[in-house]
Amino acid sequence: MQLVLFFVLALLAVAGAVGVVLSKNAVYSALALLLNFAVLAVFYIMLNAQFLGVVQVIVYAGAIVVLFLFVIMLIGGQLAPDALTAGSRRPARVVALIAGLVALAGLAYGLVSGALAPQTGQVQGSGSVQAIGRVLFTDYLLPFELASVLLLVAMIGAVVLARKPTKS
């Protein structure tokens, strides 16, 4: 069961990566990247790293992909010429609808049959928020603080770089 799940997810992840590399339109690249990140979050949960899976969804799929899409749309124009012209997009919509329904049906089946039921007693395992937090704030306290400084510097740098140049 888990092997089949691994194969399907691995195929999805590789397909997303191929889409990122090969699609001409940068918007499609960003959406394929989103698929890849979401599948990787499932892998983290399969590897008993629940916290990392959730963080992957929040930071990568929620923040970084949205940042990419914002910049693509901001630069826009010649970069993504056919992204917003919804001409003959009907087949793609039908395929997306069917794929979404299949995913929903699979999730519903998993929930009803109990295969996806949370396993009590495993929550205290190595990947839980509690375990990670304990190690992060004791053994890895200095790198943690340095990471916060790094993020602050990156934030200030991004604001300074992307600011409109002052007229002098």
Binding site: M46, F68, L79, V135, V153, A154, A162
Partner: protein, 102 residues
């Protein structure tokens, strides 16, 4: 239980695809996306090794967490640089950003 080597093969495939994307694309945004793919492949390796070699510890996951923070910082600064280049040179094609070629 999925064997460790399968995760390593998957991570290697994603790493190679990201490397190809980072090296072959002309569009600066696509190059950044390739770099993100590479960092994610490294994260899979870290978490898989943690799970299979030292399942009781969380060191690999914490390393992956730091990689994630660095990737977020890199994406923010990289995209700000792309916007700055676009403002001054009106392009995101890396072939055209050759001001320092001499």
């Amino acid at each position: 239980m999925v064997p460790l080597s399968w995760y390593l093969v998957l991570a290697a495939a994603l790493f190679s695809l990201g490397l190809y994307g980072a090296l072959s694309r002309r569009n600066a945004i696509a190059v950044l996306m390739g770099v993100e793919l590479i960092l994610n492949a490294v994260n899979i390796n870290l978490v898989a090794f943690n799970r299979f070699i030292v399942p009781a510890a969380v060191n690999g996951q914490i390393f992956a967490l730091f990689v994630l923070a660095v990737a977020a910082a890199e994406a923010a600064v990289g995209l700000a640089l792309i916007i700055a280049i676009y403002r001054t040179r009106n392009t995101v094609n890396l072939e055209d950003a050759d001001l320092m070629k001499g």
